[in-house]
């Protein structure tokens, strides 16, 4: 079936550094999402992105976070600067439509902030 890819699979950085997480969504999808998973269980919505704009973001999407998808390339999540509490697994998802359409998830990027 359709696959979402995420690069890298694991990233270790020092607190205060910048990190960019990359997502290669399903090729014809139009809606893109980031979710954050802590402790291997709780999965929480961060942001969704459509037509070059953030459509909705949660309280977890702090001012240090930003997303973009320049020229149809990777959909990226940038954190600058990072904090210890940003350590988590970040999942990218994409869907063809918004509003309740099936989302396809990538395998996740495990971010460790030291």
């Amino acid at each position: 079936g359709p696959k979402v890819l995420q690069i890298p699979s694991h990233q270790i950085i020092d607190m205060g550094q910048m990190v960019t997480l990359n997502c290669d969504p399903v090729s014809n999808h139009l809606y893109f999402y980031w979710y954050k998973q802590i402790l291997g269980q709780q999965m929480e919505f961060l942001v969704n992105f459509y037509n070059g704009k953030v459509m909705e973001k949660s309280k977890l999407f702090k001012d240090q976070f930003s997303v973009e998808r320049p020229d149809g390339s990777y959909f990226t999540l940038k954190i600058q600067p990072t904090a210890l509490e940003d350590s988590a697994v970040y999942f990218c998802a994409s869907s063809l439509l918004g509003g309740g359409a099936e989302q396809f998830f990538g395998p996740g990027t495990r971010l460790t902030v030291l």
Binding site: Q41, Q42, G100, G108
Partner: protein, 115 residues
Amino acid sequence: AQSVTQPDARVTVSEGASLQLRCKYSYFGTPYLFWYVQYPRQGLQLLLKYYPGDPVVQGVNGFEAEFSKSNSSFHLRKASVHWSDWAVYFCAVSTKNTNTGKLTFGDGTVLTVKP
């Protein structure tokens, strides 16, 4: 605001036994509901989805779920569990608002399968 509760953090069943994982949702209006499964160190895979219509939804690998508006529930069932079903199961709710589409997840249920 939409929310999902999965009251059982852990469920253990014997291989071959039947399974029910519980999900309760809170949503104003008619929700779109999903069950996803997560295997160790992998992303989420969709098991099944409910859009307004037949309350019993069939999914992959013998899973099904039943929507109940009166009980605000969307419980997942399987008649005979296989060892490969050992995973974490997430129930999620979404809105039909086309400007968003965020999934709100429950905390997940860890399913352990005994031989």
